[in-house]
């Protein structure tokens, strides 16, 4: 016997692909949203598959009400900051609810729409390359779903043989395959990280200029200059000498590496004086967690959920490396000093073991009468002495500091800063390294500074009694400037400016902005044009949201009620009421006809019987109660009512 060609009902096929599309939404959101919402939605989704097998569907009204209730519930915990995650949670839940319904064409389309929005939303938080794989799969499945749904729409009773099914599937998959190049284009131009994605592609052995958590000496011989943009800082133009972008403070040195001990001081009693300046920073995902600010930053305003900014020695960092472009505001004082009453001197006087006697001796020769004088001596010795700046042929050494000071006498900023800090420490002056960026190109059009990886810099802070931490930059200025292109070509500038505005647009496009637009439209807000605190703002937002939801629920219930008391029921109610007024009360167990026939007044009886006849004809035969009949019956009721009046009158 020949093998039978399997035949599938079109609806089964549509369901198969639709459930897969739903499943992919779950896969993509795994670990991206809160576990509670994820599991709830997942259980509903699995339950819907089970119900699908049993051919049971939940009532649509019930589902809609639960969806509304869920949204209300969600609003109580709605976090304006965690906007995307919150929305994804809502969407996933709605998606799983939708699966519980008896699905019609419209419902399938809604499911696809929800899943598309989930995928679109995920692009903003999903940063793994595997996303491309999911996206690819999703596009194929979505395409097949819609194509088969199209077939379903043409004939729900259609059956497809396995062979035809596969042919349609494969041949129509060309559509998403062709669409992928377009998608890829959007994938690149959409605001998302490019750092973690292609990071594995350019792991070169040579070091590059750039910011790093540690300062390592003697490990690399050459440093390449990196043109990558690290951040853009929108602010007024200031003197170039003041452009120190603080990133991290390094307090410990082991002879080769500088690192942060992460020792928290009990209390930072800082005091800053100087011109205050606000910068809006658009930080690229550069691979680390530090937030830069113009020296000395004292406050950072950053509204991203679940990521508390930590602060230490006027440096700010997030718990995790930054993986997508972010925007924050920095409040800084332009000052080389940090007044601090009490510091952990042991920490800032730490010296590596086996420190060479040569260095110790050198330090002694640079000692002045005061700490400040010593510091100036050291600065002068390094900055204006026999040392030159270089990024190439750096000493590869196990004793890099000594080799730099006495043998090679050239190096990059890390050597200069390390030397100064150590020389200070030997002289019992607490010191530390500050790593960040120096300089930047000011874009006159966009009014912002462009800071690239090649601007990475390390400088020193020394603790001088009565003055606090003082910034010293021992790197020779000439050397520092030689590797720096201070200007961009016109074309570069053009692209850079476009880029900036694009980033600005995307990063600024958030709900709060929208809200402010709404706010400026509505008059009461305009009158109330006070500075509304963020909390009030989000509260107002939630309030409006809740109110609108409540209003829609009210409207839904209202309409439901109206449609429930149908015309016919309204009519019969009125009819019975009139007769009751006349003294004829219908027994609940009595039939209408039976009741009417009991009426004694002949005229009334006739009219009432007439009414009942027409009514029963429509009502019990499930005929449509159209307007015409309705009018007719209404007229009859009126006649009956008037009849009573005439009797009375007579």
């Amino acid at each position: 016997m020949s093998k039978l060609n399997k035949v599938y009902k079109i609806e089964t096929v549509v369901k198969f692909f639709t459930y897969w599309a739903g499943a992919l939404a779950f896969i993509i959101l795994l670990g991206k949203i809160s576990l509670f919402y994820y599991l709830t939605s997942l259980i509903l989704f699995l339950f819907s598959i089970f119900l699908e097998y049993k051919n049971i569907y939940l009532n649509r009204t019930f589902i809609n009400i639960s969806a509304i209730l869920f949204i209300i519930l969600k609003l109580f915990t709605f976090n304006l900051e965690a906007l995307i995650t919150s929305f994804l949670e809502i969407l996933l839940f709605l998606l799983s609810l939708k699966f519980l319904e008896n699905k019609k064409f419209r419902d399938y389309m809604q499911i696809y729409l929800l899943s598309v929005i989930i995928f679109a939303g995920s692009t903003l938080i999903f940063l793994d390359i595997i996303f491309l794989v999911y996206l690819f799969l999703y596009l194929i499945i979505l395409n097949a779903s819609i194509v088969f749904l199209t077939y379903y729409s043409q004939d729900p009773e259609m059956f497809l043989s396995e062979q035809i099914l596969l042919k349609i599937f494969f041949k129509t998959s060309i559509i998403p395959l062709l669409a992928i190049p377009f998608t890829a284009l959007f994938f690149i131009i959409l605001p998302r990280t490019d750092f973690p994605l292609f990071g594995f592609l350019n792991k070169s052995i040579k070091a590059k200029t750039g910011f790093s958590e540690n300062v390592k000496l003697g490990d690399v011989s050459e440093i390449q200059e990196e043109d990558l943009v690290v951040f853009r800082a929108k602010m007024v133009k200031i003197n170039d000498d003041l452009l120190y972008w603080r990133g991290i403070v390094l307090d410990s040195f082991d002879g080769k590496n500088w690192f942060s001990s992460h020792k928290r001081e009990d209390k930072e009693n800082l005091e800053l004086k100087g011109t205050s300046i606000i910068q809006t920073i658009y930080l690229e995902p550069y691979g680390d967690k530090y937030l830069f600010g113009l020296d000395k930053p004292y406050k950072i305003k950053y509204n991203i959920p679940f990521q508390n900014i930590q602060k230490r020695a006027l440096t700010f960092f997030l718990p995790f490396p930054i993986t997508s472009r972010i925007k924050y505001e920095v409040f800084s004082f332009l000052t080389p000093f940090i007044y601090e009453s009490k510091i952990n001197k042991d920490l800032y006087l730490q010296l590596p073991k086996n420190l060479s006697e040569n260095i110790k001796n050198l330090a002694k020769t640079l000692q002045g009468t005061t700490d400040e004088e010593t510091a100036k001596n050291i600065l002068r010795f390094l900055k204006y002495g026999k040392y030159t700046y270089s990024l190439s042929n750096l000493p590869l050494s196990s004793n890099p500091l000594e080799d730099f000071l006495f043998k090679y006498k050239y190096g990059n900023c890390e050597y200069f800063a390390s030397s100064m800090a150590i020389l200070l420490r030997i002289n019992k002056i607490p010191s530390r390294l500050v790593a960040g960026y120096k300089g930047g190109i000011y874009n006159e059009v966009g009014k912002y500074y462009l800071i690239r990886q090649k601007d990475a810099h390390v400088w020193v802070e020394a603790f001088i009694e009565n003055k606090g931490w003082v910034r010293y930059d021992p790197t020779p200025p000439l050397g520092f400037q030689t590797y720096k292109n201070l200007k961009l070509s016109k074309l570069e500038l053009l692209f850079e400016t476009i880029n900036y505005y694009y980033i600005n647009l995307i990063l600024n496009y958030d709900l709060k902005k929208q809200l402010s637009v709404i706010k400026s439209i509505s008059i009461p807000f305009k009158i109330f044009n006070l500075k509304i605190h963020l909390k009030i703002e989000s509260f107002l937002f939630s309030l409006i949201f809740i109110l609108s939801i409540l209003m829609s629920i009210f409207l839904i219930i209202y309409f439901l009620k109206i449609s429930k008391i149908k015309r016919e029921e309204k009519l019969i109610k009125e009819f019975l009421k009139i007769l009751e007024n006349k003294g004829y009360k219908k027994d609940p167990a009595e039939g209408l006809e039976e009741f009417v026939l009991k009426i004694k007044e002949k005229n009334l009886k006739l009219k009432a019987f007439n009414f009942v006849k027409i009514f029963e004809e429509i009502y019990y035969k499930d005929k449509c109660f159209d307007k015409e009949i309705n009018e007719k019956l209404k007229a009859l009721i009126k006649e009956i009512k008037n009849l009573k009046d005439t009797l009375k009158g007579g």
Binding site: T150, K171, T172
Partner: protein, 246 residues
């Protein structure tokens, strides 16, 4: 979206239609029509094509085909004469049901509808005058032997062709021509039915019956005369004459 549009357009492009009508179509009698959609695209199959003929309220749906797909459907012609299958549309919602793409086919398919055959008695209309005035040259008590065929149960013994039976070892029977096999001519001018259509219907019925029974039949109209004949071609000629009779 753009791709969907391109695919949708491509899907209904380069499609051709062929229609095969049955040889004899009669008014008010359901007739089956074969419709063949031909896909002239080399690598692009035709998905979800709907053929719509508004005049006949016909809508045919093809799920998928690569080169060609044949449908059989029936129509009920209203009246005799030359008719056209036109206003044929090819439509498809492929690929995403966003919109219906349709294309009018610039082709007309003519077909001829013969008058509706209506039963009428030959003698009622021809009257008794024809009785005894047989034009037929074939006179014989049992008619002529037309053919010999296998025995069918219930055939009277007198029809058994003994000679052939003996030859073949199988019971064979004679098929004889009937008395009424004498050729006749239907004269439309003399057919006394007032309604023209009824007259044509009756004539059609008579021609069909006659030829079914093997009686050569001829036709006479005001302008034309056809000698009696039995051939299929002759039948079609007569019916065409009736179909187009003014």
């Amino acid at each position: 979206m753009l791709l969907a549009g391109i695919f949708g357009k491509k899907n209904i492009s380069d499609l051709d239609l062929e229609i095969i009508f049955s040889e004899e179509i009669y008014a008010k009698k359901e007739t089956f029509i074969k419709l063949k959609i031909i896909n002239k695209k080399k690598y692009f199959p035709a998905f979800l094509i709907r053929v719509i003929m508004e005049d006949y309220k016909i809508s045919l749906l093809s799920i998928y085909f690569e080169k060609e797909k044949t449908f059989t459907f029936s129509i009920l012609p209203e009246e005799r004469g030359f008719k056209y299958l036109k206003e044929i549309y090819l439509a498809s919602v492929f690929p995403f049901n966003f919109f219906v793409r349709s294309k009018k086919l610039n082709k007309e398919f003519p077909y001829l509808v013969f008058p509706e055959p209506k039963k009428c008695n030959l003698f009622t209309y021809f009257g008794k005058k024809s009785k005894g005035e047989k034009d037929s040259e074939k006179i014989g008590s049992e008619g002529d032997l037309l053919s010999i065929k296998d025995y069918i149960e219930g055939t009277p013994i007198k029809y058994i062709h003994w000679k052939a039976t003996a030859k073949t070892d199988k019971l064979k029977i004679k098929q004889l021509s009937d008395f009424s096999t004498q050729p006749f001519i239907i004269d439309l001018t003399k057919l006394n039915i007032l309604n023209k259509e009824d007259k044509l219907s009756c004539a059609t019925y008579l021609i069909l019956e006659a030829i079914k029974k093997g009686i050569p039949v001829g036709l006479k109209t005001e302008t034309k005369f056809y000698q009696p004949n039995l051939s299929h071609k002759h039948k079609l000629v007569l019916l065409t004459e009736l179909a187009l009779y003014e």
